[in-house]
């Protein structure tokens, strides 16, 4: 079947692009990181056993605290949830796979690769020690000088890259591949929660990517964003929490989705006020971007803003109230079955109620002033985030029979729950009791020792409880009872309508809800043509508007089988990992001594390993990128699907738009950073660093290249190979012209005017940093565009794209976007 080896073959797990395989990989990897982060947690708890004696040094303790937070939040909670999302969202919406299977595999490999980079960072002179919030300026090399600190920051950036790919994939899948008859309000609650999650992720993780790139620039290239006293610290606070607050819901929502499913399945009752629960979830997703400054109440933000943030914070608790009551009332008059999954979901609700109530305390600013930086906060967010994740373990038991075809051991499952629940409350409730202890401090007031010792015992109980689960799953996988297709009495969603485990392509016939319930329909497939649905009059129906039907007739590979295997996602992730590994030691290994001109400058390399890794990685990225582009990989769009609100938009184009939306936030964050710092420095005290003429010329060059891209599309539609080559070629030439002028400008700034990324002979150094980093990010986008354009040019020369001009069109979208960004950058850096 399309070259995908059997599940017993190791090779399969490196090449698979199937959503179920990738889901399993995510889940198992996330559980590994649970252990990794758990060991860090136990180290912290051991250090807290005695307020005077220590087992770790101050630095090592900070590394443990930082790694624990980063691993649990990024490498465990979200990926664990995304394991289930990968496996079950396509099943729940009646799709064959996610929209972009290779991209999905890439997301996973980037996730694993970033985790490997993080693990390596421990051996690069110690990992990051600035806390998971990575506050500035503790995060700059002056205060956290180890190579491993840079490695951890780059690992985070790599993780976020994978996350962005995954976000685009899920958004496109859910908005593009729902089975016929499944309107957006008809989606199962788990899928609904995931949809809200990925919408938040699209914007929140883009902000994190931006702030991570800025920090990477500070650490690798020597810019001075976060050490700048012109608001550098607050800039980090704002950008980080703009991501950080939505992140809380990003990790909680998948768990909420599991709770909503399990409460229904194990009570036999349907969700109370379903429509209002969905509206609440959407409201929370939007509001989550309007509360971030409540993490900064003790900074210098003014009373008006604090008041506003307090109001929005309290506002966001109200939809949660509704969701919680809906969950409780759903159970009433049900037939509640106390299975292991239900116990975990129900336990999660109780823990979340406690987390929610203690959160209202934090919403009152006077209380927040005192709780800030104490164990009250630590206890609260563990009850919310880990309390929520409790439901995810319920999800693991709930779906275990579907994934493996075997039933788990009910007794061991319940035992796990009891030990888990007791351990959980022992650790985190004791934190409420000893809340006056400052966070991340191990020499604390001996008055609170009893609570911390109690918590330490609880932590070990909690940790051990997971081994009951691992044993249960391992034993049941080997010798469990066959579970059958649907082991639950009151399950409703489509994953229970297929075999356990489901077949590779999920359905033998097309799932459809057109009649109001799930049916499998056999479509008429003309010999050697695409499937067609006939309506009552016998006419061929089209349900998606022009581009969709046009797509079916134009797609040149329609007679092929869908592909399920590709090695390039793995190879691409390895290449990126090697590149970033190289960059982690770049600042240490390579020093540039500036001379009078570029020719007279020296590059001193003290450790060749890192520069070699950079070069090898980039070569690998180019090679695997080209191979990816050339691979004949067929992932057909669902032919009949519900697509509201993106009915007329073709699959890849929709994905492109989602990607560009996240890129808007990345650039938005960079430009906001420039404006914020300049405002703090005194807006009028800065003059443009550069002459405006080169920038003006470049503006014309880029705008002209936008026109030539449009002409290229016209030529492609007219099937004119000559025209296409000429217009694409002109675009490439214009792009190179832009880059040449840019290079001249930078050369002029550095060698004639003494303005480098870290030094400015004419004003604040931060102004120079902002100029180089912001225009540099844009330059990288242009460069990436040129690589793609050259690829397309060669392919056109070989005779491609004349039947199917969509790649030209999508490249054009990207290119226009990069040009529009320049229109914002130009006045900010060249005119005012």
């Amino acid at each position: 079947m399309s070259g995908l080896p059997p599940t017993t073959s190791v090779k399969r797990w490196f090449v698979t692009t199937n959503h179920k395989d990738v889901g399993i990989l995510y889940t198992i990897t996330a559980l590994f990181f649970l252990l990794f982060g758990g060991v860090m947690a136990l180290l912290i708890r051991l250090q807290l056993w005695d307020p005077t004696s220590q087992i770790l040094s101050g630095l090592a303790y900070n590394e443990a605290v930082t790694a624990h937070g980063l691993i649990m939040v990024f490498w465990f909670l979200s990926p664990f949830a995304f394991g289930f999302a990968n496996y079950f969202v396509p099943l729940q919406i009646g799709a064959d796979d996610l929209a972009f299977p290779r991209l999905n595999a890439l997301s996973y490999w980037l996730y694993l690769g970033s985790g490997v980079l993080l693990a390596i960072s421990f051996f690069q002179g110690g990992t990051l020690s600035a806390g998971w919030t990575i506050y500035a300026p503790l995060n700059v090399p002056m205060y956290t000088p180890s190579i491993g600190s840079t490695g951890a920051v780059l690992a985070l950036a790599m993780f976020v890259t994978g996350t962005t790919a995954s976000t685009v994939n899920f958004l496109t899948s859910i908005h593009h591949s729902r089975a016929e008859g499944m309107g957006i309000m008809d989606m199962p609650m788990f899928t609904w929660s995931m949809l809200a999650t990925v919408w938040m992720m699209l914007f929140a993780f883009a902000a994190l990517l931006a702030v991570g790139l800025l920090l990477a620039a500070d650490r690798v290239l020597g810019s001075v964003y976060f050490s700048a006293t012109e608001g550098g610290s607050l800039l980090w606070g704002h950008l980080f929490w703009f991501f950080g607050h939505p992140e809380v819901y990003i990790v909680f929502f998948p768990a909420l989705g599991v709770m909503l499913e399990l409460f229904q399945t194990f009570s036999g009752r349907r969700l109370v006020g379903r429509k209002w629960v969905i509206i609440s979830i959407c409201l929370i997703a939007v509001q989550s971007f309007l509360v971030w400054m409540h993490h900064m109440f003790l900074t210098t933000i003014n009373l008006e803003i604090k008041t506003l943030m307090m109001a929005t914070t309290i506002g966001i608790s109200l939809p949660f109230d509704l969701v919680v009551f809906a969950l409780i009332y759903t159970l009433i008059k049900g037939r509640i079955q106390f299975t292991t999954p239900f116990l975990f979901a129900f336990g999660a609700l109780l823990l979340f109620i406690l987390g929610g109530i203690t959160g209202v305390f934090l919403g009152a600013i006077v209380l927040d002033y005192e709780f800030r930086g104490t164990y009250w906060v630590v206890a609260h967010f563990h009850y919310v985030m880990f309390g929520g994740a409790t439901a995810l373990f319920g999800g693991a038991y709930y779906w275990f029979p579907k994934i493996t075809g075997k039933m788990y051991d009910e007794f061991l499952g319940k035992l796990h729950f009891v030990v888990f629940f007791l351990g959980f409350n022992a650790v985190y409730f004791s934190m409420f009791l000893g809340w006056e202890t400052p966070r991340r401090v191990f020499e604390y007031n001996p008055e609170f020792q009893i609570y911390h010792q109690f918590g330490t015992i609880g932590a070990f109980v909690l940790g051990l409880s997971f081994f009951i689960m691992f044993y249960n799953f391992a034993k049941s996988y080997v010798s469990g009872e066959p579970a059958g297709d649907n082991p639950w009495d009151y399950s409703r969603t489509a994953e229970w309508a297929v075999s356990s485990p489901p077949p590779l392509e999920n359905w033998s016939n097309r799932p459809s809800y057109a009649s109001g319930k799930l049916e499998f329909v056999k479509d008429f497939v003309p010999d050697g043509g695409p499937a067609m649905k006939t309506d009552d009059d016998g006419d061929v129906a089209t349900d998606g508007g022009d581009s969709h039907s046009a797509h079916i007739s134009k797609y040149p590979y329609w007679d092929e089988h869908p592909s399920h295997a590709s090695i390039w996602p793995f190879a691409l992730a390895v290449s990126l990992g090697v590149t970033l590994f190289g960059f982690s030691g770049f600042a240490e290994a390579v020093t540039v001594v500036l001379g009078e001109t570029a020719m007279q400058s020296d590059i001193n390399i003290s450790n060749a390993l890192y520069p070699i890794a950079i070069v090898a990685g980039i070569v690998g990225l180019l090679y695997t990128g080209v191979k990816w582009g050339l691979e004949d990989f067929y992932a057909p769009p669902s032919e009949f699907a519900e697509r509201w609100p993106f009915n007329g938009v073709e699959k890849v184009k929709l994905g492109m738009w989602f990607f560009l939306a996240s890129d808007v936030i990345v650039f938005g964050a960079f430009i906001s950073a420039a404006v914020f710092i300049r405002y703090n420095a005194g807006w009028m005290t800065w003059e443009p660093l550069t002459e405006s003429l080169p920038g003006l010329i470049n503006t014309f060059v880029l705008i002209t290249s936008s026109f030539t891209v449009i002409l290229a599309l016209v030529a492609a539609r007219r099937k004119s190979r000559q025209g296409l080559l000429a217009t694409l070629g002109t675009t490439i030439l214009l792009g190179f012209t832009f880059m040449t002028i840019k290079l001249w400008e930078w050369n002029h700034e550095i060698f004639d005017r003494g303005v480098t990324i870290a030094a400015n002979a004419h004003g604040d150094p931060i102004q120079a940093s902002i100029y180089y980093v912001t225009t540099g990010l844009h330059g990288i986008h242009v460069l990436l565009g040129l690589v793609i354009a050259i690829f397309l040019f060669v392919r056109v020369y070989q005779g491609h794209y004349l039947d199917d001009e969509r790649p030209i069109e999508y490249f054009g979208l990207y290119w226009h976007f990069v040009d529009i960004v320049w229109v914002f950058i130009f006045p900010l850096f060249y005119l005012f």
């Binding site: 101050g58 900070n62 020690s129 506050y135 500035a136 300026p137 503790l138 205060y143 008809d186 989606m187 199962p188 608001g231 610290s233 607050l234 036999g268 009752r269 349907r270 969700l271 006020g273 379903r274 003790l298 900074t299 210098t300 008041t307 608790s317 109200l318 109230d321 509704l322 009551f325 009332y329 159970l331 009433i332 509640i336 106390f338 129900f346 109780l350 109530i357 209202v360 919403g363 009152a364 600013i365 006077v366 209380l367 002033y369 005192e370 800030r372 930086g373 104490t374 400052p438 991340r440 401090v441 020499e443 604390y444 009495d489 009151y490 399950s491 409703r492 489509a494 319930k517 799930l518």
Partner: protein, 260 residues
């Protein structure tokens, strides 16, 4: 901006600790009450509607695999909105109440007759430097008079710290390049109760590096006259300061009792 809640108290001023303790008590009482009601109600219903195999199949509309999801409406939906409304009222009134007290905490009590004293606090890895209006810099401890409002202007020399005293319930971020403010006041009764010299522990509440745990200091409150004596002795020398760094012009609202 004085709000009605304060006026009702009748006293001259309230320490932040008092305000905090009051709000904390109210929140804790209501939070426990609401939490207990909700959790007990939930547990009771879960027990009541457990599947014991004895329920009749009549009227039980079990969901089936593949149905398009619908919600439950009817009386439960009404109950949902009723509970939602109630919880909204509780939460909103709690916050409005707490907001009144926030306005007090933000402004602090009006300046006493003696005038207030402004101190520049500068955090560094790993300690605190206190600069007095007369330019004297003290490290290790902040010595202030009783019965007088003390205004702190807090900043940092290197990384982000957080100046806080759990005993006094005060806290403020110390951010490089930025100045945050907070205030406190200790009554002479409290000083006497502690034997003529009250001390309060100060700690850093934001991770600031390997020495974060040891970044401790204290606030010492002396009776007015003793403090004045102490302060007069600091005028010329910065002996205890090690090296006296000029933190910057401290905003001084001439402490009346001192100028003599």
């Amino acid at each position: 901006m004085i709000n009605p809640v304060i006026l009702q108290q009748g006293s001259d001023w309230r320490a932040q600790a008092e305000v905090f303790d009051e709000i904390f008590f109210v929140f804790l009482a209501l939070g426990t009450l609401v939490g207990t009601i909700v959790v007990s109600y939930t547990l009771w219903n879960v027990y009541k509607y457990r599947d014991d195999g004895n329920r009749s199949d009549e009227k039980f509309d079990a969901p089936t695999v593949g149905e398009l999801p619908t919600g439950q409406g009817g009386p439960k939906a009404k109950k949902l909105f009723l509970s939602f409304g109630l919880s909204a009222i509780v939460v909103i009134s709690l916050v409005v109440y707490a907001y009144g007290l926030l306005l007090y905490v933000e402004d602090g009590p009006s300046v006493q007759e003696e005038g207030d004293i402004q101190i520049m606090v500068e955090g560094y890895q790993y300690g605190w430097a206190y600069e007095y209006p007369n330019g004297h810099t003290e490290r290790g401890e902040l010595v202030v008079p009783a019965d007088q409002r003390v205004d702190l202007n807090i900043t940092s020399r290197d990384v982000w710290h957080n100046f806080g005293s759990s005993d006094l319930r005060i806290k403020s971020d110390a951010i490089p390049g930025d100045y945050s403010e907070t205030w406190f006041a200790v009554s002479s009764e409290d000083v006497e109760a502690q034997g003529g010299e009250a001390t309060y522990a100060v700690q850093c509440f934001e991770l600031c590096g390997p020495g974060h745990s040891q970044m401790k200091s204290q606030i010492t409150v002396l009776p007015q006259d003793e403090w004045e004596e102490w302060y007069a002795g600091t005028g010329n020398s910065s002996a205890s300061a090690g090296n006296s760094s000029n933190i910057g012009a401290a905003g001084v609202a001439a402490p009346g009792g001192v100028s003599a």
